[in-house]
Amino acid sequence: MSEILKYLTQTWNIKKLVTLLSLFVLMMTSGLPLLAQQQRFPKPEFESGYTQPVTSMPDARSDFFALFDVFVLILALSLITWLILKKRSRRGVLAVSVFSILYFGFFREGCVCSVGSLQNVTLALFQPEYSIPISALAFFVIPLVYTLFFGRTFCAGVCPLGAIQDVLLLRPVTMKTWLQKVLGLIPYIYLGLSVLYAATATDFIICRYDPFIGIYRFDATFFMFSIGAIFLLLSAFVARPYCRFFCPYGVLLNWMSRFSKHHLTITPNKCIQCRLCEDSCPLGAINKPVPVKVMEDRPSATKRFIKLSLIIPALMILSAWTLSNFHENLAKVNTKVSLANELMLFKPDAMLPSVEVEAFKSAGTPVEELYSEAAVIVEQFYIGAWILGGFLGLVFGLTLSSLSVFKYREDYTPDKGECVSCARCLKYCPVEK
């Protein structure tokens, strides 16, 4: 109908209108008996003057907020960037953190967030029929752009997931470097898996296992509440456990931040190597100066470089091959694949059909159609597993090699990738502007 109306408004030709109207009448008259047949008990004609209530169709929450959120995001990002880089104020960061916990967290109930929008973007890139809401795209791109220029100021206090952990940090413990590096690999795996599952339109695992959204909504399963509570308890002692060891969006921010132009510096002027800031970072993201004697000579560096350039591709191929062997297990998360599996193993005379099997049978789609669709998805997982494996191998290799590389540094500087610009270290620096 709406197409017809659109057509009419576009052309407004009387002759066409008449033909369409007659067609419409024909449709109605031929359609009515069919509809009446569909309705087993026709609607009664009431004599008591009964008025029929209106079918309730509650309106959705207004769309206005979706765009307003983007506006607030830009405002909060600009404000916190100014507070960190120009005012160098930890108190300002705290204030913005509290604001975003209240606004993005409790008021907007943590959805859509930048971390999750990563999946919308992936889904939109790989599935042609999905169109992405503008707000989701904006939430994905804007923090990355800011990070590319100013470092991870988004993490510092705008992201509601990071902010809630940051304000709870009471007694940070320092972690061993090797432990940090090993745990720091989890976000890459998480990122890879979430991209794989979003690209195959299987699931949004980041949203599904978001530990804090249940707390922001005061509503979650017991399992998710416990995970959220564990993270919050942990974040009193370990700085931002979710951000550092799980957040997949943090990986992208980390990459962007490495090349940021105006990243936060610990000292406003020149570092005097007083070592006061040395232990100030709860994230362990301060690079210490390297004593000259550690510098390695050229031949051994070349040897190491050759070794690494052999090891890394080998690692990539190995892990890609390993993961590709598990592509069917990865694909089982997909509902279509799991249903096809179930149907293949289903014996009608020996087993009770599950809800899925029953629903599929009642829908009447041919089994072959489902099997071929599932086969396509499994094939996608096979390719995806190779790529994911290669990516993870590369990450492992580079992490390993980064442990053995000593960049020459004279001053105490923040590690641009790991630093979330929380501004805690600033007050330790005695140097005046």
Binding site: Q38, P44, Q52, C111, F259, A359
Partner: protein
């Protein structure tokens, strides 16, 4: 002198990477720019696909579920013996709790005139289990239908019920047409 050269090189590489990262961001935005929709999408149930499995009541992230039974009065036959209200094989047609199909007593039965009764869903009590929907569809006109009630739905990025739905009845719908009733209402709206 040599140190300065080294520093320059590092800066140069950094700048190159920065441009590469910026270009890839612009690229992604550009590719997706024509795929955006200005408004949000909402989740809704296609009533023609729904099999009333009962998972809407348990899978929603909101408790009780944002899926509610909505009564399309246009389709209702106002039956005395209502398949959506009464359990099968009830002895006497009364509003007694033992006769009601709804586990939470969310359907109000009101006498109108001789053989006709009106059935009203009390939304606050409805948990979206779909038992009445099944009954009405099996024995009646199918005027009771499960729909996502958008004033309760928090519009998750990925609907938790959609993931668990065995009949693939959930889909994203544009915000200007947020309900998908089947049958009369749809024909009327056209």
């Amino acid at each position: 002198m040599e140190k300065k050269g080294k520093k320059d090189r590092r800066d140069f590489i950094n700048t190159c990477f920065r441009f590469a990262a910026g270009a890839s961001l612009v690229g992604v935005t550009g590719v997706l720019a024509h795929k955006t929709i200005s408004g949000n999408t909402l989740w809704q149930i296609d009533t023609t696909k729904c099999t009333q499995c009962g998972r809407c009541a348990t899978s929603c992230v909101v408790t009780p579920s944002a899926v509610k039974c909505i009564h399309v009065y246009d389709m209702c036959g106002y039956c005395d013996l209502c398949g959506g209200y009464l359990r099968p094989n009830v002895k006497n047609i009364t509003t007694g709790a033992e006769n009601q199909l709804c586990p939470t007593g969310a359907i109000k039965r009101k006498y109108i005139e001789d053989p006709f009764f009106e059935y009203e869903i009390i939304e606050d009590l409805c948990i979206g289990c779909g038992k009445c929907v099944k009954g009405c569809g099996a024995f009646g006109n199918g005027s009771l239908q499960l729909q996502v009630s958008h004033d309760i739905c928090v519009n998750c990025n990925q609907c938790a019920i959609a993931r668990d739905c065995p009949s693939d009845a959930f889909s994203r719908v544009p915000a200007d047409e947020p309900y998908k009733f089947s049958g009369f209402k749809k024909e009327k709206k056209g």
